[in-house]
Symmetry: C3
């Protein structure tokens, strides 16, 4: 187990582990938030979910879409679309031996940008708040990908 211990002892890797876990936890909170919005707004997509709240004809009217629920779902999907590249590229980047300061800079920008993005999407704040926070996160991931491809391309 010596190697695994050494790997996890690398400060860059440990920083990646911390920031990746934080941003994944943030994303996971979108699921209960969707559930909460569905409950309070009574907007469901499955008949079996409505059964707990109403019966018969009354139930059918709760099988509908709601603007707030859809907003939370779009925010969640956008998280997925951005966090998956960060996880993949960030992990490979952390293993490619970057400077600790540079790596922390990238991880912090990304995680900060996703928190701002969620906040901007759910309040909602006027544009370009959401667009700018989305771009900051994309930029951090692109920058890590550039470093990866420029230092060790193996086609």
């Amino acid at each position: 187990m010596a190697d695994v211990t050494d790997l996890i002892d690398s400060e860059v890797f440990q920083a990646f582990a911390t920031y990746a876990t934080i941003v994944l936890l943030k994303m996971m909170l979108m699921s209960p938030l969707t559930g909460y919005c569905r409950m309070t707004r009574k907007a469901f997509s499955n008949p079996e979910d409505v059964a707990m709240h109403a019966k018969g004809d009354d139930a059918k009217k709760y099988l509908r879409t709601d603007a707030t629920v859809e907003r939370v779902r779009r925010c969640h999907l956008n998280d997925l679309e951005n966090i998956v590249p960060f996880l993949g590229i960030g992990l490979l980047y952390a293993l490619s031996g970057p400077e600790l300061d540079t790596a922390l800079f990238h991880f912090r920008i990304f995680v900060g940008s996703r928190i701002c993005h969620t906040f901007s999407y759910l309040v909602p704040l006027p544009q370009p708040c959401r667009a700018v926070s989305w771009m900051a996160g994309m930029g951090a991931t692109f920058s890590m990908a550039y470093r990866l491809l420029s230092t060790g391309l193996r086609l």
Copy 2:
């Protein structure tokens, strides 16, 4: 290549590899299932897909949504939303040197919960079958994230 071999020889990592592969294979089966439902129910979303089944005006009526297809798609999306955090957090957790028994406990709960979730969603079983299986998976991932952040926080 000595280090890579040692890494993959760690029993916890090997267990993670097995369970992650199983749960990803389960998720991948949702794609052909969606395709199968689209074929049998003749509910497509792209004009070029319909062309294999019908022509002209007949084709347009197949560009529609179908309750069963949408159910499979929601199940697939829920898989994505839950399996991505498991992959990220589970990998970092497996590398943080947990006890084998504890790690196996987490991986088994998660994979079992996702199989129950899919089953509950597609049959469909009455609630709270789906809700409980979804929560068990979330709980396993949260517990691994807690262990990660409590043992090696590096901000």
Copy 3:
């Protein structure tokens, strides 16, 4: 840091890093493409996005779905559904010590298939172009999963 350097020096791992980064960059380009289509076709899903283009009653009519925007979004979601298993299974496969040639064969097929898939989806090319490219990618991932489970199953 010796181990991390050794790990990243393994040719198979470096090949995985390169192909995973390429396919993730391809996926990330779907986000700005969606944005571009929303702008040119004036089809938005959030009121705050429309505010930059129109005011009052004029704004409401831009809160709509558009066939091209939905096509790009479906392509993006299909990417996510296929690239997530590739990242997870591919990473574990790269660490399981396969032959370099075999590994390269799998990675190239997968990345090639996803590029063909995007091209087939967005042009769009007649079926079965998209179906075949999707299947090639699934096949490559399944093949890596089979190798993983057949060499080191640890339940």
